[in-house]
Symmetry: C3
């Protein structure tokens, strides 16, 4: 049966075999059915250039097969063995400061090292050959949390090749990077060096003298790691074509353009480690982004902690009910799995205090084990009811890695504006309204949406402005902000009034963009209508002249007092909004509520603050998740009659459903 | 006609030629007459060791000549070409951390690299030879914003030679650096290594184990860059002896001893990028310093932004009127030019969002273009009335790079005392009183002054104490502070009571200097007279015993309560003041007002807060600049009848002149 | 006569000989009898590989002998000569960032450099041979303030040998470091690299991927420096077996395990430079720790400043009386000396502004000279009354370098908990109660104590839990805290419920440990008894289940509200307390007061806030030090009749003794 996968990372190689039997009994008790194994197995298996010793891995695989467990099998290449670093120093990375590293940590291999590329590909091949016969392998888990970057000589050479392939001639590269500036004209590909603290950067990764080379290096680095993934995948596909291949993403992780990667994964999986206890909107956004990477296809929650992390300055435990609540949130947003890191707590090294299903004492009566067992029971009872279901939305938010990179490496206008924080801020308004959202990439088609929200869409590629115009002309509402539309794919300014390529759609002109410290507020004043009010805004203030657009809100003070701060432009059958300053959440909620209501988009269930309502569809069935993130019980008025899955009850229309703090209800009907 | 030069940096090489014609029309409209070209032209012109291609530069020069523009011609050596860094790695710098850099950024050449020295000199020669025939070149602009430092092996060798030349014998060096301390005795010049984070420094540039070597390296580094300037200047003088030579300074820039440099420039020029919108006093001080570098000779404002910077965390736009106000402030303090960086906004790289006269859209109707055009009209109408005028002052502030360096690299007594902030603090009191000030170097003669203010004159060189004594004995007032007079030119302590060499002049003795956190205040209490009051003071507290001096103010608390905090010593016909703690602005205003009034120095015009009044003299004519930095209109009572230059009106004595916020009035008479 | 040594560091080599005579007169005046010489004399004495020139050192030794001064003679090896760094680059250190240093600073030699080891041993030998005949040498002062660390290739090789010696086989090392984690399995000793920013560490020294290797490197580094000490000591002992050997410690200095070092010193000496003016408890703790290093044996205060430091951001002067007060505090806690750094203030380099007995002017009438002279007189009058006395205590605090290291390099549960701050916090409660404390190591026997307090005893070695159990069973009170007992000597988790090896003794079980930001407070609520009250607690919150222990206090809120926060477990004849959260000072004072009173431990003299009362015993005599750290005079009720040493008076029982602010009274009787 295709139930929701339940389990997580399991490292029996760290333990004597007698412990394994304890583990199996505890797994059984907690309804664990899926185990990720082999994630950091490279040094265990490959003892030197020639010698592969699978004996322990064999035992693990045999045991899990015998126990009837599904396996997510890792290729184990996320940390090279120490001997490899000693014999082939090229496999370690050179950091942003230009310093060559030695053996240590993990995610430590240069992606362009021929030695690493060769041996990691071989490792994937060996693993596939060895375990191809196991029918309980449900996925390949390539490497682990790909990330970071390298600045070594191998990377430098590969970067030049990448550039040569991209630009064809050195003249085109000079044009793209605007190298007449600061005497940077290149006459030879070999004159190009990696952009880091020893060349173009002023100490920090975001502060570069040349945005063009830095942006290309970010793309190159993302591509280099993707190539590592692809070479392993190629081997796996040769030998086990039927087993889907994934690698675990890290949510909103800036260094990798996951939209570019997603095409090559059979399904998306990701690790959810939010920064604090009040992260429900951030997690929802990230789930939606992960789902959006492959156009709504279900994903896996590959990792979450059962209780605490260990790597943070503080590591609070998940409060009672929170692990279950967040697990269902993942399912509500499209996950087909609930997996933990990890099954049994490591006894030593840096994850010794990271929470696990089974603690150092091996207990089955800890609060977190009990909660996990209860969730395991529920997931077993749910069976295949929810797996493979889909989430539909008529509102989309555009998420673009190139804009993220470009806006944050830019000199001017402000270093206080974070792409990620802006996305979370805008998403929070939609989340508070329980409006379903798809988080989409710049290549995603817009046909199915009524509203497209594109904050900080700094860079316009592939005529996205035309796509936005067509979308709007057909009756859609397009909402964008400060700093959007103004650079091309090489991060060169559009040679027109700002907002550059969105000028026509938005019907405005901007000559000046003021920036102030975050504590210096102005306000957006709206005199009438549903948006009526005065809303704080800060950080950035475009001085806008309308060229046909209607002024909706104006600035409250400074020399641009009474000039437009928010505009709306009728464009064909739709309208395009421009938000010229960083607004408070209240303004965004009102704006999005009004906009959604224009399309009769609204959450059918009224809920109190902190209650998330999310729908998932499977065929004709609709599942409504009621997730109470608040610290208090909430009452929900039910608009119609539902069947409640988790307690197997029927709730009549009009009834007030009480949902306890941190509790979850799944309604069908 | 010798009008005020108006224009700025122009980089047509970044644009296709059709844009140039647009530029010319816009220049005409804005009354632009002076263009700085070629600043970063090296990679464009020199393609390899042998090949110089002037074709594009020729076109630029021809076009500007044809258009009747004055040219400030750069030698283009502020950033070496990429090919040079690859073929001759020695040309790049090694940073303070000891890391060797690769190609990137600008101001990136090792000043002691033989390759850089050779090719930069050759570049200056080639430029001079090529364009010697142009009669519209009004100045050579060597390199650009010389700065930074290098710690490479070439520098290390050159440093040893510099030391050998300075000290003659290793014994004298050992004596100067007090190397019996911490086992540092040197037996061989080659034992000396550059002082950086890999040798004498604890991570930071200001924290050194040996002040002697660090101080000498600062002097050596300033001299090394000066040598670069001199070698280019030598070539230019050979070929175009009639064209004056400058390089653009950066105001109060710590790494370079501009008093030492100034002797070698035909005129001073500098770039004015204040850190925030409330910088009027800081800019005035810096203008006065720039004027003081060559004993009052007019200077050029080589760069300012028309609207915003791009390199800061925030980059506010200049408010309406501010660009004009600050331009006239420069003129009021001695500038013969108003020049912008830059004419047309770059489309890519790190200055893409830096403000320019002409924006990405090429518009003539932006607020900043309109303001620049209006200023251009005014400057054209003013013609040669103001150029070459001079500023006289009877109050001087002493500014000394050696003291700046020594006091900030010192271990103890406090790292919270900044030389620059102290100078600004003291200047602000004079600025608020509209007392004209010359900012002078330690070599400047004092004969023309009545009052000499020397805050933090830590190091006494060339018997400056005797100069101060003679000045005071003849009737002058000498005012100095904590931390003054106590080290010799090698930063060794004067072996006497503090204030060391100023002990006799000041008539006091100090055994103890207490230092506390900036938030821990004491007070200066004055019981009678014009200074009567209690004034907060903080950071540093000398415990003073008088040896003949009169106690003017005492401390309000702590174990040194009621002991002297401010003293005055009659010395010959004058008096010498000592300020033993860091006083608030109010105290300084009262002290300077009283002191100035003793010499009948006072601003003739009463003005409200924020209104700067500055005089400039040309022959018998006196021009009075009224600069309203305030946010509100101010009324100025005119003590006599004036002619107003900008509106060509006559204002009668006794009239109340209304000056709008940010407005400027220039009165003649 | 064996009086308290009085004097300090003296560097006549920095001065011409005529100054020496001035010094001698001033020493005589101030009753200086002991001088530390030669501390940084290496470059002066050894001019190259072959040439040793003792001529200046000879003069110094002869002069001091002639003047009748006792000498603490340094071996001078704390900073190698510049020529050595140039000729043998291996002698300089490679820092934590992996960067190789050049000549500079001090404490700059790689402890594993064969060249350094050879020449430093030879230097000790040469010094001993040269000056063996001097009968006024009372101690050898080896090197100076051993500290820091090195990460060079020599260290890497030595580390592998150290590991080989410790573990015997690579398998045992793999087991100890848990290397199956993150693919770290080592097959060859040579695969191991030093753990720093280029290998296992994430930028910071406390953040490592592998606690096992980092912990071993800390031990190895401490041992490496100890070996340097031992090799010099070996030479000294050969030639001058009768002269005791020490090196000056730095109090609570994390990098060196002073308990391991202490065995090899003939007596302990240390340098007292507290961070601020309110450090009396911290200094008292440190004195007690220094005394505890050799089981109560008297130590030397080797350095303190007479007035100010120079190396801090601010350097306040010691207020009137404070130098004397702190000197007597050292004596009260077990010091047999009062020594200053330094005698005459250096004229140049980084200690130019560090306070000295004799200032730059050479005066005998400064406040600090006068205070030092008065103290000198007192110490002369005291004669041998106090020297060699001992301090007894029935309360001990356990201080363990391994726990310090392990708890601070741990990933999770919180990086806000500082070992040192926690020790100071707990000590402050005892200090406020004037309860005598011994600060003991993990190897110290517990027989003489009634109460043992062991905060943050994270690591349990050598069956310390059994020692604690025996101690408690015999009637003692054992008090420990959060994070105690839970790792073994390799920093691997105890595979049991927390508190691991203390579980049996404490009668509790912990499954969950919550951590929050320091500003997020919970509280400890005690409902009845002497501890009744509600006390703030923060940072860490164990969720405790009792297994026999009694709940004394409970949490005030959060999901663990009303569960145990403080427990007491009867164990044999005694009791064991667990403090599950970081409590405020008030709670600790009440707890320790109650606990002490159970054993009739209490200070016999009632004193007001800020008055420290400390006893020292010599034979049958008891000396009671009354140290008024407060800013006001205090009255002390005397419980019996005393003789007062310093004023040679008798005070009757019942009398109210007035002690001025910062004053000291020593009572005998």
């Amino acid at each position: 049966m295709n139930k929701i996968h339940y389990g997580g990372d399991y490292n029996p190689e760290q333990w004597p075999e007698e412990i394994w039997s304890e583990d199996m009994a505890l797994f059984e008790e907690a309804h664990i059915d899926t185990l990720t194994v082999g994630v950091f197995s490279w040094s265990m298996i490959q003892k030197d250039e020639e010698t592969y010793d699978f004996s322990l891995m064999d035992k693990i695989m045999e045991r899990l097969h015998k126990e009837g467990k599904k396996v997510c099998l890792a290729t184990g290449t996320a940390a090279h063995p120490a001997w490899m670093a000693r014999k082939y120093p090229e496999v370690t990375r050179t950091d942003f400061q230009g310093l060559k590293h030695k053996f240590g940590q993990r995610h430590n291999s240069c992606p362009n090292s021929p030695v690493y590329k060769g041996y990691s590909r071989l490792m994937a091949q060996k693993m596939a050959e060895r375990y191809a016969g196991y029918d309980n392998i449900i996925a390949w888990h390539v490497n682990n949390e790909y990330g970071g970057s390298c600045y070594c000589e191998n990377c430098e050479k590969a970067f030049r090749n990448w550039l040569h392939h991209k630009y064809g001639t050195i003249e085109k590269l000079n044009e793209a990077w605007n190298t007449m500036f600061w005497s940077h004209y290149f006459y030879d590909w070999d004159d190009i060096v990696v952009p880091n603290a020893l060349s173009e950067h002023y100490g920090r990764e975001n502060v570069t003298a040349f945005q063009g080379i830095t942006l290309d290096y970010m793309r190159f680095n993302s591509d280099s790691l993707l190539n590592n993934f692809l070479s392993e995948k190629e081997e796996l596909n040769k030998i086990t074509p039927a087993i889907p291949v994934t690698t675990n993403f890290m949510g909103m992780y800036r260094p990798l353009d996951y939209f570019k990667w997603a095409k090559h994964l059979d399904f998306i999986s990701w690790d959810n480690y939010p920064p604090d206890m009040k992260s429900e909107a951030r997690m929802a956004l990230t789930h939606d982004l992960m789902r959006g990477l492959k156009n709504g296809q279900p994903f896996w929650l590959m990792e979450q902690t059962p209780t605490t992390t260990a790597c943070r300055d503080i590591n609070p435990v998940k409060r009672p009910g929170v692990m279950r609540l967040w697990s269902y949130q993942a399912i509500a947003h499209g996950s087909d799995s609930v997996l933990f890191f990890q099954m049994r707590q490591s006894k030593g090294a840096s994850e010794k205090y990271h929470g696990a299903l089974i603690n150092h004492a091996g207990r089955n009566d800890t609060r977190f084990f009990i909660e996990a067992r209860q969730l395991g029971e529920e997931l077993s009872l749910l069976g295949d009811q929810l797996t493979g279901s889909e989430t539909s939305a008529r509102v989309a938010m555009v998420f673009d890695w190139d804009s993220w990179w470009a806006v944050e490496i830019s000199d001017g206008p402000s270093r206080h504006i974070s792409y990620q924080q802006t996305m979370i801020h805008f998403y929070k308004a939609l989340f508070a309204l329980n409006i379903p959202v798809d988080v989409i990439g710049p290549d995603t088609e817009l046909d199915q949406y009524d509203v497209v929200i594109a904050p900080l869409l700094h860079m316009v590629k592939d005529d996205y402005h035309k796509k936005a115009e067509q979308f709007t002309a057909k009756g859609g509402t397009f909402i964008t902000t400060f700093l959007s539309g103004i650079v091309d794919e090489n991060d060169n300014a559009i040679l027109d009034d700002r907002p550059g390529l969105f000028k026509k759609l938005l019907g405005i002109r901007i000559d000046e963009t003021d920036t102030l410290l975050p504590q210096d507020f102005n306000s957006i004043c709206v005199e009438s209508g549903e948006l009526k009010g005065e809303y704080p805004c800060n950080m950035i203030f475009d001085v806008v002249k309308t060229l046909g657009a209607e002024t909706i809100g104006t600035y409250g003070k400074d020399f641009y007092a009474n000039t437009p701060a928010v505009t709306r432009n009728k464009f064909g059958g739709g309208e395009a909004w421009y938000i010229a300053s960083y607004p408070d959440l209240d303004f965004l909620k009102k704006l999005f509520k009004q906009t959604a209501s224009n399309y009769e988009i609204a959450c059918k269930i009224e809920s109190g603050e902190g209650v998330e309502i999310t729908e998932r569809k499977k065929g004709d069935e609709i599942f409504t998740f009621v997730l109470n993130h608040a610290e208090e019980e909430r009452e929900i008025a039910l608009p119609k009659t539902y069947h409640s899955l988790l307690d197997n009850q029927t709730y009549e229309a009009g009834m007030k459903l009480k949902v306890k703090a941190k509790d979850v209800v799944i309604l069908k009907g």
